[in-house]
C-alpha cells in the first residue's frame, strides 16, 4: 500500500537518502541544509541507517571524505548550500573528473555578499561547468523520488558521474508538503546495492586522480564532456524505470500549456509552481501563455528544449543569479546560444528575479508577460529592482 504523509521537505529528503541505504554521510552544517543532515544523524544513531556518519570540520573536508569513501566503493552522500558549496568548489571538479558516482543535495541559497541565508541560484550557477549531472526539482515528491533516481543514474556503468539534486532553500526545504513514501523493498528493486565498476582495492591496484600532461589533458577533458553528454539517454531510462514503478513520470523539460503558447516562461526549481499559477491566470484572460520547467540542467537537453518551444514568439527566462558583466542571466544566455543556429527562433527575454529570497508573485509574472508582449521589455532586466 502506498503511504502518503505530510512532512517537512528536508525530512522527506533525509528519508529518501536513508532508503537509498547510503554507506557514508559526511557534511558540515549550513542553513538551510541542516535539517537533512541532522535527521540522517538520528537515523544512524538509532540504527535505522547502517552508515558512517562523519560530522567533518568543513565542506571541503566533507566532499574530500566522500571522494575517498566513494573511491573505496561505498555509496556516499553529502549535502550543502551556498558558502559550503563555494568552499567545496575545488573538490566538486575533482569528483567528476574521477568519475565518482556520488550524490549531493544542494539546498540552494544565495552566495555572500551581502550575507544572506535566503534562496536564489547563485550557488549552483557558480559550478555550472563542473561536470556533474545537475537536476532541479520543485516539490517534496520530486526531491524524494530524485534521491533514488540520482543514484540510479550515477551508478549506471554507462554513466559513472556524480549527480547534484538542486532544490530551493526555505521556500521548498522548510515547507510542509505531502509526499508519497516508498517501501524499502520497492526502492531496493529499483536501486540495488552499489556495484562499483572501479574501486580502490589493494588486491587489484589501480590509480585514481592522475596527472595530465599537455599531451593527454585535452583528450581527458573531451572524454569527460562526451561522458556527460552520453549520460542523457541513461537519465531518460532511469526516469522511465521510476515512472513504471511509481507512476510518476519525469522528463528533462516539463511543459505546461506550451503547445499553442506564444509566450513561454522558463524556470528552474520551485519557482515553476508560482509561474504555473500565473500562466493559468493569463490563460483565463485569453492570453497564450505557457511554462517550461527545466528539470535537467546538465547535460543541457537541447533537442527536447527546442522541440518544446517550437512556435513560440517570446521566451521569458527567469534567472535567479546574476552573471556580472555578462550578456544576461546564465540560463538565458545558454538558451540564446542554444537557439542561435535555428532559423526560426523566439525573442529571449532574460529576467533576473527572486534574488536573496525576494518573492516573485503571480502578479510579478503577469507584469513580465505584459511588458514583453507589449514590446516594452529589454532583452536583459533585473526585474523589480528599486533605485
Amino acid at each position: 500500500m502506498k503511504k502518503r504523509v505530510g512532512m517537512e521537505v528536508s525530512f522527506a529528503a533525509a528519508e529518501a537518502v536513508k532508503l537509498c541505504n547510503v554507506d557514508v554521510v559526511a557534511a558540515y552544517p549550513i542553513t538551510p541544509q541542516t535539517h537533512i543532515v541532522e535527521r540522517l544523524s538520528e537515523y544512524v544513531a538509532n540504527g535505522e541507517l547502517d552508515a558512517e556518519f562523519v560530522p567533518v570540520e568543513s565542506e571541503h573536508s566533507a566532499l574530500s571524505l566522500c571522494v575517498g569513501s566513494q573511491a573505496a566503493g561505498a555509496r556516499s552522500f553529502t549535502c550543502t548550500s551556498s558558502q559550503g558549496l563555494a568552499l567545496m568548489n575545488e573538490i566538486v571538479y575533482i569528483t567528476s573528473s574521477m568519475r565518482l558516482p556520488m550524490v549531493m543535495m544542494l539546498v540552494n541559497r544565495s552566495l555572500s555578499g551581502p550575507l544572506s541565508i535566503w534562496n536564489d541560484h547563485s550557488d549552483v550557477m557558480s559550478i555550472r561547468d563542473c561536470g556533474w549531472i545537475q537536476l532541479f526539482v520543485k516539490n517534496s515528491q520530486e526531491v524524494f523520488d530524485h534521491a533514488f533516481i540520482a543514484y540510479k543514474i550515477a551508478e549506471d556503468h554507462n554513466v559513472l558521474l556524480p549527480v547534484i539534486i538542486n532544490f530551493d532553500g526555505f521556500i521548498l526545504s522548510h515547507m510542509f508538503e505531502s509526499v508519497e513514501l516508498m517501501e524499502p523493498d520497492v526502492v531496493q528493486q529499483y536501486l540495488p546495492p552499489y556495484e562499483p565498476k572501479y574501486a580502490l582495492h589493494p588486491d587489484r591496484a589501480l590509480t585514481m586522480g592522475t596527472y595530465g600532461m599537455p599531451a593527454v589533458f585535452t583528450e581527458a577533458k573531451k572524454a569527460q564532456d562526451e561522458a556527460l553528454l552520453a549520460s542523457y539517454p541513461h537519465i531518460l531510462e532511469a526516469w522511465k524505470a521510476w515512472g513504471d514503478l511509481s507512476g510518476r513520470h519525469y522528463h528533462p523539460v516539463e511543459e505546461f500549456l506550451t503547445k499553442d503558447a506564444e509566450t513561454i516562461f522558463v524556470t528552474l526549481g520551485s519557482f515553476g509552481e508560482t509561474a504555473g499559477e500565473a500562466v493559468k491566470a493569463l490563460r483565463e484572460k485569453g492570453h497564450k501563455a505557457g511554462l517550461l520547467h527545466l528539470r535537467l540542467w546538465r547535460p543541457f537537453p537541447f533537442d527536447a528544449f527546442c522541440q518544446a518551444i517550437q512556435g513560440a514568439r517570446n521566451l521569458i527566462v527567469i534567472d535567479r543569479a546574476v552573471s556580472f558583466g555578462g550578456p544576461g542571466g546564465p540560463v538565458a544566455s545558454e538558451i540564446r546560444s542554444a537557439l542561435y543556429n535555428k532559423e526560426k527562433r523566439p525573442g529571449v527575454y532574460s529576467m533576473i528575479a527572486g534574488l536573496g529570497g525576494r518573492d516573485v508573485t503571480v502578479r510579478d509574472y503577469m507584469q513580465m508577460f505584459e511588458s514583453v508582449t507589449a514590446g516594452k521589455a529589454s532583452a536583459y532586466e533585473i526585474f523589480g529592482v528599486r533605485g
Binding site: P29, E38, S41, P55, S58, Q83
Partner: protein, 262 residues
C-alpha cells in the same frame, strides 16, 4: 544594564543587542569593551567578527568593524594588520569558526606569531546553525548531529584549543582561557592580550567559555551549572602562555586548574 555599566566603546543605538537572553556573547563583548576602554584604544581597533552568532556583533561597537566569512576572520585581520601595523586587530569568532573550519588559520597565525588578538567563544556547539556537534562538544553531550551524545570513540575528545596552541606558540605570544562566569577576570585576560599586541610581542589568543541556553535547551540554573561545572572541569581556566614567562623553550602553564587564575 545601566547606562553607567555600558562600556564607552559600545554602540548605544544598537542596544539591547540581538543575542538570545542568557547568551554569553554579550558578556564577552562587555569584557572586551571594558578592556578596550581601559587601554583607550577605541580609535585604533579593527574588530572582525566571524560568521556564527559572533556575526550579530557587526554593529555592536563604535569600532571599525568588518564582518568576514566563516572561519576566515584570522587571515583577514592579519592582512589588515600587516599593512596597518598601528591597528589593533581583533578576530572575534566561535569555536566552530576557530577550531573546525578555520583551524588551519589559527594554527598558522600562531606559528607565525602574527600580532593580532583572537577571541574565541567556546559554547560547545555550532550555535548559529541550530546547535550541531562542534570540536568542543563535551563527551556525552547531545547536539543536533550527536543525538545519542558525543561518543569519544567515534568523534574523539573535545579540543582544548588554548592548550593545543600553547604547544606551538612562539615566544612573545599570549594564550589564555577565561569564562563569562568571571567577567572582570575575563576583561583582564583580554586586556593583557591587547597589551601584548600593543607592545608588538606576538599573537594573543583568548578563549572564553560561554553559554548558549537556546541550543543547550537549558533554563537559567542549568545553563550556569553546565558552564561552571561540566565545561570548566573539562576546560580549565588560566593563562597557558604568557610572554613574560616564556622566552623560548617549552610552554609553561599558569593556573591550569579550575581554581587557579579563573
Amino acid at each position: 544594564m545601566s547606562e553607567i555599566s555600558m562600556p564607552l566603546c559600545w554602540r548605544r543605538e544598537t542596544k539591547p543587542h540581538q543575542f538570545c537572553p542568557g547568551c554569553g556573547h554579550g558578556l564577552i563583548l562587555k569584557a572586551l569593551g571594558m578592556a578596550v576602554d581601559r587601554l583607550q584604544i577605541a580609535d585604533k581597533v579593527l574588530f572582525g567578527c566571524d560568521i556564527g552568532c559572533s556575526l550579530l556583533a557587526w554593529d555592536f561597537f563604535n569600532l571599525d568593524t568588518v564582518r568576514t566569512h566563516h572561519g576566515r576572520t584570522v587571515p583577514l585581520i592579519v592582512g589588515a594588520k600587516r599593512v596597518r601595523p598601528e591597528l589593533v586587530g581583533i578576530a572575534y569568532m566561535g569555536d566552530g569558526g576557530a577550531y573546525a573550519i578555520g583551524a588551519q588559520h589559527l594554527v598558522n597565525a600562531t606559528m607565525r606569531n602574527d600580532k593580532v588578538m583572537v577571541v574565541i567563544v567556546n559554547n560547545t556547539t555550532y550555535a548559529m546553525t541550530g546547535g550541531q556537534l562542534a570540536p568542543t562538544t563535551l563527551p556525552g553531550q547531545k547536539t543536533e548531529t550527536s543525538p545519542a551524545g558525543r561518543r569519544t570513540e567515534r568523534e574523539g575528545f573535545p579540543l582544548r584549543g588554548p592548550e593545543m596552541l600553547a604547544a606551538i606558540a612562539p615566544p612573545g605570544s599570549y594564550v589564555a582561557r577565561g569564562s563569562v562566569s568571571r567577567v572582570r577576570r575575563l576583561a583582564r585576560l583580554l586586556e593583557k592580550g591587547l597589551e601584548n599586541q600593543l607592545q608588538g610581542r606576538g599573537i594573543s589568543v583568548v578563549e572564553a567559555l560561554s553559554t548558549c541556553p537556546t541550543n543547550w535547551r537549558t533554563n537559567a540554573e542549568d545553563t550556569w551549572k553546565f558552564l561552571e561545572k561540566e565545561m570548566t572541569d573539562y576546560f580549565p581556566l588560566g593563562e597557558f602562555v604568557s610572554p613574560h614567562d616564556r622566552a623560548g623553550g617549552a610552554p609553561k602553564v599558569n593556573g591550569n586548574s579550575r581554581k587557579g587564575g579563573g
